[in-house]
């Protein structure tokens, strides 16, 4: 059953990498990176999943069959980091739009 999750992870990562590599619009590139990040988060969460497990809160727990807590902490951290990276990338995209008047990655490239 859990195998399907990994298929979803691979599909999401492939879509994200495709978007980041082949799309010309900067916003779409940022969206692509966010999709890869979602794949990574899904992967981490599914690693800690236990069949029929409950939330890892020991207070008042009815059984000890709990999902692992560490991957969830990792996922939360990676979500936070991705939020910061996304905000920064989007503001860069805004400034690039201001300077060039376009979000097309091929409109002008840095070279001399």
């Amino acid at each position: 059953m859990i195998g399907f999750v990994f298929l979803a992870v691979i599909a999401l990562a492939a879509i994200g990498i495709y978007a980041a590599m082949f799309k010309r619009n900067l916003i779409k590139i940022v969206v692509g990176i966010n999709i890869i990040a979602s794949a990574a988060n899904l992967f981490l969460v599914s690693l800690g999943y236990r069949e029929g497990g409950i939330a890892p809160i020991f207070t008042g727990a009815e059984s000890l069959n709990m999902v692992l807590a560490t991957p969830q902490a990792l996922t939360l951290t990676s979500i936070v980091i991705n939020l910061a990276v996304t905000a920064l990338m989007l503001s860069f995209a805004i400034m690039i739009y201001r300077h060039y008047g376009s979000l097309d990655a091929l409109k002008r490239r840095l070279k001399e």
Binding site: I27, L76, S91, G101, S102, L103, D104
Partner: protein, 161 residues
């Protein structure tokens, strides 16, 4: 926006703030913590942008938000340094029978708010920081770049012209 949206936004201040503070304060007992709670409270700022528009956004004092951000981060760092008697990030308040330091009786219980040592304090610091930082991001993106991004040039945004 219409008066309905404005009034609903004002009414929603109380539940959103309450929920955000609840998530922050109970971070050591239930899922949640500083980041989710701070993000919930920052969503209030975004809601007000939508309801009241640019004129309201201009009234926000960014200096206070910058102060809140730095204060939250500095508090977090300070709490980490205070544990230096044993090691960095050591939870020196836990089981000390003081602020947030009550020891928890063994067995099933519904959770004690005054437990966890420095973890709830760090959650509060992080919550303050996240609230302020996300608000700054929203303010800056909405005010300083909004008019450039969403003006008459809107048709230009697409990849192909």
């Amino acid at each position: 926006m219409s008066p309905i949206v404005k009034n609903v936004a004002v009414v929603l201040v109380i539940p959103i703030t309450m929920f955000g503070l609840y998530i922050i304060l109970h971070g050591h007992l239930t899922p949640g913590g500083g980041f989710p709670g701070g993000a919930i409270m920052a969503s209030l700022v975004v809601l007000f942008f939508v309801a009241f528009g640019k004129e309201w956004a201009k009234k926000i004092n960014k200096g206070i938000l910058f102060f809140g951000e730095s204060f939250g981060l500095a508090l977090f760092g300070l709490l980490a340094f205070l544990g230096l008697g044993t090691s960095f990030f050591h939870n020196f308040l836990a089981n000390s029978d003081s602020l947030f330091g009550m020891s928890i009786p063994f067995g099933a219980n519904s959770g004690f708010l005054w437990s966890g040592g420095i973890i709830p304090l760090m959650n509060i610091a992080v919550g303050l920081e996240v609230f302020a930082a996300l608000s700054i991001i929203a303010v800056v993106m909405f005010l300083e770049n909004g008019k450039v991004m969403f003006s008459e040039k809107e048709n230009n945004v697409g990849g192909k012209k």
